[in-house]
Symmetry: C2
Subunit: 731 residues, 2 copies
C-alpha cells in the first residue's frame, strides 16, 4: 500500500524542480534600465489584476464553501469536509496561476535580453520559464490530490469497496470543484482582459494611427502586454490545473466503483491514474532536456518547432512505455465495473487510444491553423475581396475544422470503451493528460516570447532582437493552437468520464433521450455554450470599445504623444481592462455553476444528464469552431508579413487584403483567447458540479417516485387534485 505515499512525492519533486529552474531564470540578466522599467510596469499591472481578481474570488470561495458545507451537513449522503476540499482546491488553483504569472513576468524581460545574444539562449530562457509553470502546475495537482487522498482516507477510515471509500472520493470531488471554478473565472476574466487590451490597442494603434504593434506611444500597449500574462499565462495555468485534476479525479471516481482483487487492497484502479500523473511529471522533466537548439542554428522557425516537438514526442513515447509497466504492476489481470468486465491489457489499450487521440487532435488542429496549409490559404484568398469575405472564409474554416476532430473523438470514445469500458474512457483521458507538464511548458513559452518581443520593441532594442523573439512567438502561436486542440479533446473525454460517474452516483440506470423531458434538457444544455460564448465575446467587444475611446482620447488630448515627447497614461488603460474583466466574468461563471444545480433540483438527475450531454457536445463543437477559426485568421494575417500571392499579385502589410485580414484576426481574438478556451472548462465544471450534487439528488430522487417521468408526475398531480376536489364535494 506504500504506493499511496509515493504519489505526493512526485508532486514534491516537481515543485523542487520548479524552484531550481525558477532560481535559474531569476539569475539571468534582466537587461538595461529601460527594459527593467517596462518589465516592472507589466509585472505591476499583472499583479494588480491578480489581486483584484483573487479578492473577488475570495468572497465567492467563502460563500460557495458555506453552501457546500451546509449541503454536506444536512444530507446523509454527503459530508461537510467537501467544503474544506473545495477551499484547498481553489487555493491551489490560485497558486498555480500565481506561480505562472510570477515566473512569466520575470522570464519575459530576460528572454528579451537573451535574444540580444542568440536565438538558442532566448529559447532556453523562455522555455525554462514555461517549464517552471508546467512543472509547478502539475506538481501542485499531484501533491494536492495525492496528499488529500491520504488524509481523507485516514479521516474516514476508508478501505476499498466500502461506503467510506466512496465518501473519500466524493469529498475529493470538492477539491476538483474548487480548482475548476477558479479556472473558469481565471480563464474568462483573463481572456476578457487580454483581448480587450489587444483588440483595443490594435484597432486604434495599427488600424487608425498606423503605428506598429507594441509601439510605446500607444497608451494600451502596457495593458496589452499585461494581458498576455494574465490571460495566456495565469488563465491557462489555472485552466490546465483544473483539467488535470478533473481528469485524474474522474478516473478515480470510476475506479472506486470497480471491483478489483489486487495487491493494493482493491484500490489499484483508484491509484493508477494518480500514479500515471506522477510519473508523467518525471517524464516531462526528462522531455524538457530535449528542447534545445544549437548556438549556430541561425534564425530558423523550423528548428525551434523541431526542438519543441522532440521534447513533446519523447514525453509521449516515454509515457506510453512507462504506462505499460505501471498497468502491469499495479492492476490485476481483470476487473469489473458496473457488470462490465475488462482486463489490464484493455486498460493499457485505452491509454494508447488516449495518447493517439491527443496526438491526432494536435496534428489536425495544426493543419487547420498553420500558415501555408489549405485552410489558412483559403482565408488569405478571400481577403482579396474585402473584410466580409475574409470573415466568411474564417467562419467557414472554423466550422469545417470540427469534422475530423469529432470523428477522432467519437472513435476514441468508441475505442477506449471497447478496450476497458467506462474506466477505459476515463483512463484514456488520464493518459492523454499525463504529459500536461510538458504541454504546458510548450504552451506557456509562447506568451513569454510574445512579451519579450513587446519589451524589445518598447525599449527600442536593435531590430535583430525582435526578429528572434518573433520566431519564438510564431512557433508559440502554433503550439497555442495545438494545445487548445489537445485541451478540448481531453476535456471531452474527461466530461464523459464524469458524466458516467454522475450516472452511477445519482442512482439512475441510464439517460434516455427518447423521454421528452430528457430531450428538453438536451436542448437547454446545448444552448448554454452559445450563451456563454455570447457573453464572453460581447464583454471583449465592449471592453475593447472603451479601450479604443480611451486611446483616442489620449491621442487627442495629450500633447506630443505621437512625437514621443508626451507620455501616455498607461495605467488608465490597465484600469479599464481590469475593471471590465472582473465585472464581466461574473455572469458566465454564475451560469456555469448554477444551471446544473437548477436543472438537477427541479427536474431530477436524468434530465440533468440530458442537460450535461447537450452542454458537452455543443461545448466541444463551439470550442473547436472558435479556437480554430481564431487561429486560422491570426495566421492568415501573419502571412501578409512575408507577402502573399493572390491571383498572381503579391500583397504585403498595409495592402487592402491585409487590412481585411486584420479584421478577421480581430474577430478571432475573443474566439480563440476568451470564449473558445473557456469551453473546455465550462463543460468539465458543469459535470463536476453535477457530480458534487449527485449524492443529494440521489437521496431526493429516491424519496419521490423513482421511475416516473416528469409529465407523468404532472399528470399525477392533476389526478390528485381531481381526487381532492371530488373528496371535497363529497363532504
Amino acid at each position: 500500500m506504500s504506493i499511496v505515499y509515493v504519489i505526493p512525492l512526485f508532486g514534491l519533486i516537481a515543485l523542487l524542480f520548479t524552484a531550481i529552474q525558477s532560481a535559474w531564470v531569476t539569475r539571468q540578466d534582466a537587461g538595461n534600465e529601460r527594459m527593467q522599467d517596462i518589465a516592472r510596469h507589466i509585472a505591476e499591472g499583472a499583479m494588480a489584476f491578480l489581486k483584484a481578481e483573487y479578492k473577488i474570488l475570495t468572497y465567492f470561495v467563502i460563500i460557495a464553501a458555506l453552501l457546500l458545507g451546509y449541503m454536506g451537513y444536512s444530507h446523509k449522503n454527503s459530508d461537510w469536509t467537501i467544503a474544506l476540499a473545495f477551499v484547498i482546491g481553489a487555493v491551489f488553483s490560485a497558486c498555480a496561476g500565481f506561480i505562472g504569472m510570477k515566473i512569466a513576468t520575470k522570464a519575459n524581460v530576460r528572454t528579451a535580453h537573451a535574444a540580444r545574444t542568440s536565438l538558442s539562449k532566448a529559447l532556453k530562457v523562455s522555455f525554462t520559464g514555461g517549464s517552471v509553470m508546467g512543472m509547478g502546475v502539475a506538481g501542485l495537482a499531484v501533491l494536492g490530490l495525492g496528499s488529500l487522498f491520504i488524509i481523507l482516507k485516514a479521516y474516514f477510515g476508508a478501505e476499498a469497496n466500502t461506503a467510506e471509500m466512496i465518501k473519500t472520493i466524493e469529498v475529493l470531488t470538492g477539491f476538483s470543484l474548487g480548482a475548476e471554478s477558479i479556472a473558469l473565472f481565471a480563464r474568462v476574466g483573463g481572456g476578457i482582459y487580454t483581448k480587450a487590451a489587444d483588440v483595443g490597442a490594435d484597432l486604434v494603434g495599427k488600424v487608425e494611427a498606423g503605428i506598429p504593434e507594441d509601439d510605446p506611444r500607444n497608451p494600451a500597449t502596457i495593458a496589452d502586454n499585461v494581458g498576455d500574462n494574465v490571460g495566456d499565462v495565469a488563465g491557462m495555468g489555472a485552466d490546465l490545473f483544473g483539467s488535470y485534476v478533473a481528469t485524474v479525479l474522474a478516473t478515480m471516481v470510476l475506479g472506486v466503483e470497480t471491483t478489483s482483487t489486487d495487491n493494493f487492497g482493491g484500490l489499484a484502479p483508484v491509484l493508477l491514474p494518480m500514479f500515471i500523473a506522477g510519473t508523467g511529471i518525471i517524464l516531462s522533466i526528462i522531455g524538457t532536456f530535449f528542447v534545445r537548439i544549437g548556438e549556430n542554428t541561425g534564425l530558423s522557425t523550423a528548428a525551434v518547432q523541431r526542438a519543441l516537438n522532440l521534447g513533446n514526442w519523447s514525453s509521449i513515447v516515454l509515457t506510453a512505455i512507462v504506462c505499460y509497466f505501471a498497468v502491469n504492476w499495479i492492476l490485476p489481470e481483470s476487473m469489473t465495473l458496473r457488470g462490465h468486465d475488462f482486463t489490464r491489457n484493455g486498460v493499457f489499450g485505452a491509454i494508447i487510444v488516449g495518447l493517439v487521440v491527443g496526438t491526432l487532435m494536435s496534428i489536425i488542429t495544426e493543419y487547420y491553423t498553420a500558415m501555408g496549409k489549405r485552410p489558412v490559404k483559403s482565408i488569405i484568398r478571400q481577403s482579396s475581396t474585402g473584410h466580409a469575405t475574409n470573415v466568411i472564409g474564417g467562419l467557414a474554416v472554423g466550422m469545417e475544422s470540427t469534422l475530423l476532430p469529432i470523428i477522432v473523438l467519437a472513435a476514441g470514445i468508441y475505442g477506449s470503451h471497447a478496450c476497458a469500458g467506462l474506466y477505459g474512457v476515463a483512463i484514456a483521458a488520464a493518459g492523454m493528460m499525463a504529459t500536461t507538464a510538458m504541454q504546458l511548458a510548450i504552451d506557456a513559452f509562447g506568451p513569454i516570447a510574445d512579451n519579450a518581443g513587446g519589451i524589445a520593441e518598447m525599449s527600442e532594442l536593435p531590430k535583430d532582437v525582435r526578429e528572434k523573439t518573433d520566431i519564438l512567438d510564431a512557433v508559440g502561436n502554433t503550439t497555442a493552437a495545438t494545445g487548445k486542440g489537445f485541451a478540448i479533446a481531453s476535456a471531452a473525454l474527461t466530461a464523459l468520464a464524469l458524466f458516467a460517474a454522475f450516472v452511477g452516483v445519482a442512482g439512475i440506470s441510464g439517460i434516455d433521450i427518447y423521454k421528452a423531458d430528457v430531450l428538453a434538457g438536451l436542448f437547454v444544455g446545448a444552448m448554454i455554450p452559445f450563451i456563454f460564448s455570447s457573453l464572453a465575446i460581447r464583454a471583449v467587444g465592449e471592453a475593447a470599445m472603451s479601450m479604443v475611446e480611451e486611446v483616442r482620447r489620449q491621442f487627442r488630448t495629450i500633447p506630443g504623444i505621437m512625437e514621443g515627447t508626451g507620455k501616455p497614461e498607461y495605467d488608465k488603460c490597465v484600469a479599464i481592462s481590469t475593471e471590465a474583466s472582473i465585472k464581466k466574468m461574473m455572469v458566465p461563471g454564475a451560469i456555469a455553476l448554477l444551471s446544473p444545480i437548477l436543472m438537477g433540483f427541479i427536474f431530477g438527475p436524468e434530465v440533468l444528464g440530458g442537460f450535461l450531454a447537450g452542454a458537452t457536445v455543443s461545448g466541444v463543437l463551439m470550442g473547436m469552431f472558435q479556437n480554430n477559426a481564431g487561429g486560422a485568421w491570426d495566421n492568415a494575417k501573419k502571412s501578409f508579413e512575408k507577402g502573399v500571392e493572390i491571383n498572381g499579385e503579391i500583397y504585403y502589410k498595409k495592402s487592402e487584403p491585409h487590412k481585411a485580414s486584420v479584421t478577421g484576426d480581430t474577430v478571432g481574438d475573443p474566439f480563440k483567447d476568451t470564449s473558445g478556451p473557456s469551453m473546455n472548462i465550462l463543460i468539465k465544471l458543469m459535470s463536476i458540479v453535477s457530480l458534487v450534487i449527485a449524492p443529494t439528488l440521489a437521496e431526493l430522487h429516491n424519496e419521490t417516485t423513482a421511475s416516473k417521468t416528469a409529465p407523468e408526475k404532472v399528470q399525477e398531480v392533476v389526478k390528485k387534485a381531481e381526487t381532492a376536489e371530488k373528496t371535497t364535494v363529497k363532504l
Copy 2:
C-alpha cells in the same frame, strides 16, 4: 369514413383560389416597356436556373427512386411503392417552387407599377402574389398527402391497427422524403445563388464603385434580382412544402400506432392532422382578406405591419377555435400510444401549446432582429469602432438569441408531451403549421416587394415609387426573420415527432446516451450542421468572389459602362451564380441524405438515434444563431439610412460606422439566407431518411443479437476469434 375524401377537396379549393388570384395578378398592368424588359430578363434568368436545377435533380430522383424501390423490394418489412411515392413527392415539391417563382416574377413588375399609384395598391398586388404561392404550396401538400393516402389505403386494403395500415403510412413517408429532398436542394442551391449574386453585387457596386443598390450599371444586378426569386421564393416554397408535409406525416405515423376507438374505424388520430391542415388552408384564405390598408394611409411601415399581423393573428385564432371543434368531433374521449394514455382535451391542449410556441418564437425573433430594439442597437454602437467590433457584436447577438427560443421550445416539448404524450408533440407541430399558407403568403410578399424596388430603380421610375416598395421591403425583412423563427421551431418539433416515430418503427425501446456508442453518435450528429453550414457559407463566399472578379472585369473592360453608355453583360453574372449554386449544392445534399444511412447500417438504430438527436439539437441552435445574427446585422445596416446616434453624433450612409455595418450585413447574408434556413430542412430530412430506412434496420437489427452494444459486439468477435484459435491448436 367519408372525411377521408373531404381532405383532398381542401387542397383543390386552395388550388382553385390560387388560380383565381393568379389570374388577377396577371391582369394587372405590367408598366412601361423598360419595366417589362427588365422583368423579362429576371424571369428568364430565374427560369434558366430552375431548368438547370431541375435537370440535375431529375437524375437524382431517378437514382434515389431506383435505390428505394430495390430496398422496398428486397426487404420483407418494406414495399417498392415507396419509390413511386418518393417521385410524386419530388414532383409536387418542384411544382410548389415553380408556382411560386412563376407568380413572383409576374407580381414583381406589377407591384412596381402599382406603387406608382399607391402603397395600398402595391401591397395588394405583392401580397396577392405571396398568397398565390402560400395557397399553392399548401394546396399541393394537402392534395398530395390526402389523395395518396386514399390510393395507398385502397391498394394495400388497409384498416386501422393492421400491418397494411402501417405499410400505407410507411409508403407515404416516401412522399415526404421526395418533398424534403427537393426542398433541401432548392433551399441550398437557391440560397447560394441569391447570396453569391447579392454579396458580389454589393461588394463591387456599393463598396468599391460607390453606386447604389440595383443600379443598372452594375452587371450583377439582374443576377441579384433573379436570386430573390430563386432563393427567397422558389427555395422557400419548396422548403415550406417539405416542412408542411413532414409535420403532418410525423403526426400520422404516431397516429397509426395509437389505439383509438372512434367513428372513423380507429383512424381518427391519423386523419386529424390532415383535417387540421385542410381547414387551416380555408382559415388562411379568410385571413388574407384582413390584409389591406386604406388608400389614404400614407407611407407608413407600421400600417403595413399591422395589416399583415391582423391577417396572421386572425388565422391563428380561427385555427385555435376550429381545432377545438375538430378535435372533439374526430377524436374519441381517450387514446393510448405506446402504453401512454391521453385524452382529446390533452390533444387540444397540445395544439394550443404549439400555437403559443410558434407565436412566442416569432415575437422573440422579431425582438432580436428588429430596428430600434436593444440587440440591433448594440450592433450599431459597435460599428463605431470598426468592422471587427461590428462583426463581434453580431455574432454575440446571434448566439445570445438562442436563449429564449430554446427555453420556449424546451417548455413546448415538455408541455405538449405532458398534454398528450408523443402524439401531443407531433400535433403541436401540426397545429403550428396549420396556418402555413398564411405564413408563406406573408413571407413571400417580401421578396416580391424587394424585386419591385429593384425594377423601379433599374427602370428609373420616380423616387416615390422606390419609397413605397422600400416600406414593403422593410416589413418583408421583419416577416422573413419571424418566418424563419417559426420554421425552425416547427422543424424542431417535427424532427422530434419523427424521432419518436423512428424509435417505434426501428424496434428499439429507447436511446440511452449513457452507452458509449450512442454518445459517440450524438457527437457525430451534432457536428453535421457545422459542416453543412461551413460548406454552404463557403460556397457563397467563393461564388461571390467569382462574381466580384467578373464585375470588376466588366467595369475595367467595357467602355462607357459607368457613364451608362456601355451595356453590362448581365447574362455572364447570371451564369456564374447558376453554375456555382448547382455545383455547390451537391455535397451538402449528399451529407444530409447519406450520413444517416451510413450511421444506421454500420452502427444500428440506437446509435442512429443518438446521431439524429445530436444533429437536431445542434441544427436548431445553429439555425437560430445564423438566422438571427444575419437579420440583426441587416437591420443594423438599414438603420444607418435614416441616421443613427452613437455617443451623441449622428451617422448616415457612407460614414465609417456605416461601412462597418455593411461588412456585418454581408457576413450575415449567407448566414440568414443560405445556411441558416437550410438547418430546418437538414434536421427534418435526416429524420425522414432514418424513418424510411427504419423498417429495414429493424429487420437487420433483429437478425443480429438484439440487445448488445457495439463494444460488446467487438468483444464477442474477439472472443470468437480466440475460441477459433484454441480450436485450431487442439486439432
